[in-house]
Symmetry: C2
Subunit: 430 residues, 2 copies
């Protein structure tokens, strides 16, 4: 635990926060894809490692973090909580803005928080290979890193649009020793169905999930599947972010009035928001929560709340969530991590209960926000995280118009150093 | 100062360490390029901001860090000191290995430590534009960031070999608002002399320095020049690294026996080493110091110690340093930041006094070391920093052969996320 020389070890939480323990009404359960009846957790064992399923169905409020996982976290955690003084000055706003910067993790985003947990649990269960999907590659590179840490083979289906846009993350995964293939591709039934239509198919997270799940299902138990978002336990692993942020804000004598994060599957937003939401649920703290999604893949603001598959081929359980439909193929925007047709059931539930607000923003505004953030704070956000920045700028300007002081906390979930192509058109910065 | 929520503010030093105050024998002074007589500091005013020159000739041991600079540092400092447990396990060595990780800075390397200081001093002096050179782009992007912080225009001459190898850093500089041109190019007399020979000339740091210095000299005072390494005060700005590292090591009850860094101009190495060297000079601590350079640009191990120009056109003062000759053009290796014909006069002096050892390593070994480090520590080092990693691995393996315990501290001066092309050949990881 003393790997990272730091008195800041004080900030590291020793357990994950399981928000389900604090909800009056539980979200609707997942259904078996064939029987449409509530899932028996044992049905999941064909896909997931057993220890992971245990966390998925855990009911305790605090789930201890294994010491091996804590040791790995201690290499980069606690991540900085930064007061965005440059952005505040530029916007000339009475709002105080703080960001939690997850880009300092080895692979550059929050995804390592759950990748390390999932790889550790899988290795402890004796699993040798994990298969997964990735969009922009943040999740795939985090799992490749975690696989290297715990001696697992990693196989990644990378959505074709991102595979071609972001060669850096592809290379990074391979350097970690992972195998990476374009999705949809010819090696699975699910992939072939789309690949046959169009070998340049841009793909989607739903299709890549289908390919990865199919590989696990057909492996006879030798390969298990890992998912980078959406599931209750994945969101729970990310609560280290919010727990740290609360301690860091407390030390500064600051309390958030508004908590903001981008959402694709929902995990980075939930990781920051859920521990803060607990203060609202249990202590009545007046905190607003804002989940920000891309206009062209707006499951929360334009999707329906209903049962749908998590993948594009109908292999996964049915999840009760906001969805654009499992067949929805988002345009190949640069924020590949947000190109998901559905939304985490827990986030969907809390939006439905009006505990979380949702907002969609367009890609042009997002890139403009990223440039402002770069020039005022010096950090280049990932295109995904830039959605949160865009909404924060909207809110800070609203506070200025209304002459209202407000403390905004947002999650800067990753850096954009592997997304430089997104910031250039014909070799010129956009 | 409380921008970065952190009890770690305790680690941030309040002054730079000026090693010249602790040396019995001073290095030989710079000479005027025309008269060959020791330089009058006022001669430098045609190139540098006045406040910068004051720091260059300062004799006090501790030079206070201005509060505006400290506030900017506090966004990313203190940087982590990490115990490399994964690497130690992999090498099966009795040596304990620590690294100071400067890659968490906004632009990804130690260069922002001096960029922020130089931009602040220039802005305070009323300078509107700074012109500079850059190799791999670490320095250029750091100065572009610092320029955005303090409202300066930044113009960068980027060595052509790197301009083409590393489009990401080029884009990053432009996003900060800097103008970036390939060097050698047609806009200066110095550039034209080489550009006319070959419009695809790979360039060198010496040529890019000549172009930038020429622009400053001809500007009639409206443009000043900033240098990212070599000069005494630039090395001094980097001593925040070593001062923090000592406090972080002290807290862990560890003392380095060996301090390692890569060297191009010498600033990241000196930043870590000089505060530790003080312990050797003043307290007789038995610490070895190892500066690591590329075999193909080995100024310390294959160059001569003599007066030479800092640039390729003979515009700068003559510096007493290890040099391969101002006309030397290194091959276009990926570690563009180390492609410099000379070496900091202070480092040259200390190597000559046998206080610092030097070693050259080859590019293949460097890339192998980077891969090992990535897989064991999760961090992709910049090709420059990987030179330090390669030497650390050599030393850790020597400790194993000799059954000798040793505490190694090295500077991981930057990440390699903008160098992914260097880690690929024909799209496959090397």
């Amino acid at each position: 635990m003393n790997r990272f020389a730091s008195r800041q070890a004080d900030y590291l939480p020793s357990s994950y926060y399981n928000i389900k323990a604090d909800l009056d009404e539980a979200p609707k359960p997942p259904l078996h894809p064939a029987t449409k009846k509530p899932l028996d957790p044992r049905d999941l064992e064909v896909i997931f490692p057993k220890s992971f399923i245990d966390q998925e169905i855990a009911t305790a409020r605090d789930i201890p973090i294994p010491s091996e996982v804590l040791e790995a976290y201690a290499q980069y955690r606690p991540t900085p909580l930064v007061r965005a003084t440059g952005l505040k000055r530029y916007l000339d706003t009475p709002a105080d803005i703080f960001y939690k910067y997850e880009g300092v993790s080895p692979t550059g985003s929050h995804k390592s928080n759950t990748a390390i947990a999932q790889a550790y649990l899988a290795a402890r269960d004796g699993v040798r290979t994990l298969v997964t999907e990735t969009g922009a590659g943040q999740w795939g590179s985090a799992l490749s890193y975690a696989g290297a840490l715990f001696g697992l083979e990693i196989r990644v289906f990378m959505v074709r649009a991102s595979y071609r846009q972001k060669p850096g993350r592809r290379t990074l995964m391979k350097l970690f020793g992972a195998s990476v293939e374009e999705s949809p591709g010819p090696t699975t039934d699910s992939g072939r169905a789309f690949f046959a239509q169009n070998p340049d198919h841009p793909g989607s997270l739903g299709m890549a999930i289908a390919e990865a799940v199919e590989v696990a299902m057909r492996s006879g138990g030798s390969v298990k599947y890992a998912l980078g978002s959406v599931l209750d336990s994945v969101l729970m692993h990310q609560t280290v972010i919010g727990q740290e942020a609360i301690r860091q804000m407390d030390e500064l004598g600051a309390q958030p009035d508004l908590v903001v994060g981008c959402v694709g599957g929902g995990s980075n937003f939930s990781g920051l928001a859920f521990p803060c939401l607990r203060r609202r649920l249990k202590q009545g703290a007046a905190i607003r929560f804002l989940a920000v999604e891309p206009e062209v893949c707006a499951s929360l603001t334009r999707g329906e709340l209903r049962y749908d598959h998590g993948d594009a081929s109908g292999l996964t359980p049915l999840l009760y969530m906001h969805t654009l439909g499992m067949g929805f193929v988002p345009p190949p925007i640069h924020a590949g991590g947000l190109r998901y047709h559905g939304m985490a059931p827990l986030v969907s539930h809390l939006v439905d209960r009006e505990l979380i607000q949702a907002r969609a923003v367009g890609q042009d505004e997002v890139f403009q926000a990223a440039r402002v953030f770069l020039r005022t704070e010096g950090v280049l956000p990932a295109p995904e995280s830039s959605h949160a920045v865009a909404a924060v700028i909207q809110e800070a300007l609203a506070a200025r118009r209304e002459g209202r002081s407000e403390t905004i906390l947002f999650n800067l979930s990753g850096h954009g150093f592997h997304d430089m192509g997104a910031y250039e058109i014909n070799g010129r910065p956009v």
